[in-house]
Symmetry: C2
Subunit: 498 residues, 2 copies
């Protein structure tokens, strides 16, 4: 530790979606980059505990349980009773390790230096790394990439903090086998017969749907009485109906007040857990998932030493270039808070790094953010909701199209899905697109493109879509909106401007 | 037949995608409409023998054969040996009869009159209908909708011809059990072990892929040496590679010169067929599909009596409003030829009918037509190909993104798929999008929207896509194109206009 620390154009702390994109963006600009990650598994929550694994497990669950196929092929594809949790997670592990390897190759190809360890600031340009010994690495075969054990310091002209967030863990829960947060859930060994999910946010709702599809009886507990209130309220209500149809039991306006482990019926077997709710009701279940929010990972960074300002909930404050109050220190991703999606985190990091090197083309997080929710059925949304339009006093007309009226919807057996488009009156420019149903998270991008291009009902009405596809729902919904605009606002189709 | 024929604002001949859309468009405009269809099953080739059934059977085949799942879930979902052809077709029949019922309900709700029978012109405004007795109806439970047997005449202020097309049936083939065209293929009883497909157009290629996925050894014979030459040539070559990987054997630059049925090995069993090819090679197979083109259904209409002009290949000639040379007689769909897709046929009929009633907003078939090919893997394309850009002398740059580098691609197990985008130099406006891989026929609509809006690389680069989705491939491909534009044409990202 006596020699001068090596200096890089950029140090990135955290190897999740934001951090990795920060590294590759700088490398493409020809800069020298060091990445510090504590996990020995690149990809962060995006690849390892959050976005990708939950979606992968969901795909596996949907396929194995035959939800897509039941009543569909005249052949029983319903859930294999002999399937083990290991079967369900095998594909998840394949995808995860494939992504880990891909990220490692990318960093290698870009000649980025990678340090596996904990980072903390020594001064505004110097980061101290306590490398994590291989023996403590979470995943042995990844540990080969680990540097020699010990301590070192590195120097960065610029530094990007992308350390992400962790689940909030209320102290009342006896975490361990049977009681999980979203980071530890995939450690489960047995497929539970019954499960309580505390918190019906995106993560809680997605896992509730996945486990319900695997045959688990799921109780979903939330302190509110609206499911994901950022959704268009018609979609939110329709999703509740579908989740109930899939066997999920909602406990609205309830909080968990205690969670205790029961004596196992057979000594040596795992015991069940009893949750007491605020209403006094008790639920006894095999397993519990606590999903009540996330907090930024900033504690161990020693930020006070460099004067980086922290806002509410431990979030790092940044400007529209993702610069902190210390100009050469940037932050991106979950660590700066909303919207905390892998997609936005990646884009934020790109913008931060381009700005740091004077190559800034765009600033800010894009205003128009699509949302994808991998519940069963899927949800896709972009732009305004009916509620947000009413709040802004913008006159609008809605157009709807049902999966049941679409040949592709019938082919894939999704008869409850629908697309709702919201157009501004009187010109019928598209302002919002909301979809519940198969492929919704991807199909919503068709609407996003139209909104970005300030296009409207006429563009959909004039064009052809492949048949049979779900994209054709847009044409049908736009036409429905044009009929509604004529009926309710007296605007004939020939007078529609957009 | 002595009383005056009943007069309608519109008579539509043919109940396929074009005809049905013609009917509903007129009904929405408040017009009286009669529909004449010879099939007793509404929906035409789109719902009954072509578009939808082939796609439905494909979905079933892909799901049952476990192509999506093999190596994916750690559980054997591969083809059930005990599955019968009836199993494969059950879902197809469910979708078909669901669509038939939906169309019938729509017509009922709109108070359109439906005559099941053969139509022929008596004079330019009078159509003679020879109704088909119920006993001859293809599907007994649909036959209730049939009118009383016999003959009648109806009169139309306007007439839309939408009688579609039929497979060309070269005389050399002994059609019957074992030798099919695309209209009769779904009558097959046994799943063939070996199959020859004559003609590698869209229909032949799609069925070749479906049967290969069901475990049939497929030989695909074509007189050319390029697969679907309208595709971007890189996509065409990649598709050949994937089809060969799935076991399909191509016989390029070959024609069938004879096809004979062999004596069955066991008396009473079906015999095999021996195809002799132009090179002299012989193929002996269980079943043969002949898919060498389609011709318009105009013979029985008695068009000479009204002077409607017929062009080459029996196609009815129309102008950009789909008007024939007889002003009140329109034609739309397969009967007028290229592109002969369900999507374009529907739109043509809408435009024809709106024009007929002085409500024309748009004319012509939309210039920008997406193509969807339901091979395995799927193909989506829209706009220019590299070859068409070269032919037009337009400078361009390509950007590519691989499914293997996309988390969604990894989740769905598609590692050979890719998206290729073609941008005009120097402004990087998007001119073409080409995709091979899962969901390609839908994902291509994202690119279509961008092309319609005259947007380009910058719009994709600036925005966020849901993750993990296939839509995110656009952002990656656009960025790749921007790097290529800088490298090969010296255009830095900051100077990209679109």
């Amino acid at each position: 530790m006596s020699h001068e620390p090596k200096t890089y154009d950029l140090i990135v702390i955290g190897g999740g979606p934001a951090g990795l994109n920060g590294v590759t963006t700088a490398c493409i600009l020809g800069k020298s980059v060091a990445l510090v990650d504590r996990h020995h598994e690149l990809g962060g929550a995006g690849a390892n505990t959050g976005t990708v694994p939950s979606k992968t497990l969901r795909e596996t669950a949907v396929a194995l349980s035959g939800l897509r196929s039941r009543d569909l092929y005249g052949v029983d594809l319903s859930i294999r009773r002999e399937a083990t949790v290991s079967d369900f997670l095998r594909h998840e592990r394949t995808v995860k390790s494939g992504l880990n390897a891909m990220f490692a190759q990318q960093l290698d190809a870009f000649h980025a230096e990678v340090f596996f360890g904990d980072a903390s600031f020594v001064d505004p340009h110097t980061v101290h790394v306590r490398t994590i010994p291989k023996s403590q690495a979470q995943d042995q075969h990844k540990a080969d990439a680990a540097r020699d054990n010990g301590e070192l310091s590195i120097r960065g002209e610029n530094i990007l903090i992308a350390t992400g967030s962790s689940p909030v863990r209320p102290a009342m829960f006896p975490y361990g086998p049977g009681v999980y947060d979203s980071d530890t859930l995939l450690d489960l060994v047995n497929l539970p017969r019954t499960m309580a999910v505390v918190g019906a946010g995106t993560i809680g709702s997605e896992y509730a749907c996945t486990f319900a599809a695997l045959g688990t009886k799921v109780y979903l507990i939330d302190s509110r009485d609206v499911l994901m209130s950022f959704l268009d309220s018609e979609i939110s209500r329709a999703l509740v109906t579908e989740m109930e149809r899939n066997g999920i039991v909602f406990h609205w306006k309830e909080r968990a007040v205690s969670c205790t482990m029961n004596e196992p019926a057979v000594p040596g077997n795992p015991g069940q857990f009893t949750l007491k709710l605020s209403s006094g009701q008790e639920l006894t279940v095999d397993e519990v998932l606590v999903s009540v929010g996330r907090h930024s990972n900033t504690e161990s960074l020693n930020l006070p030493a460099v004067g980086v300002r922290i806002g509410g909930h431990g979030l790092i404050s940044v400007d529209s270039s993702f610069q902190t109050n210390v100009p050469h220190i940037y932050a991106a991703g979950d660590v700066i808070g909303f919207p905390a999606l892998a997609s936005t985190s990646m884009e934020q990091a790109r913008r931060a790094v381009r700005h740091a090197f004077g190559m800034g083309v765009y600033t800010g997080t894009p205003q128009l953010l699509p949302h994808g929710i991998w519940t069963i059925p899927e949800i896709g949304m972009v732009g305004e909701t009916e509620d947000s339009l009413k709040a802004k006093g913008i006159a609008y007309v809605a157009g709807r199209a049902s999966y049941a009226d679409n040949a592709r919807g019938r082919i894939c057996g999704d008869t409850h899905g629908f697309l709702k488009l919201l157009f501004r009156l009187p010109d019928l420019e598209l302002l919002g697109a909301h979809i519940m149903g198969e492929q919704a998270t991807d199909v919503v991008h068709i609407g996003m493109m139209a909104i970005l291009a300030q296009a409207g009902a006429r563009m959909f009405d004039e064009t052809c879509f492949n048949l049979p596809t779900l994209g054709a729902l847009y044409k049908m919904a736009a036409f429905d909106a044009m009929l509604n605009a004529e009926r309710t606002a007296g605007i004939p189709a020939a007078h529609v401007l957009k």
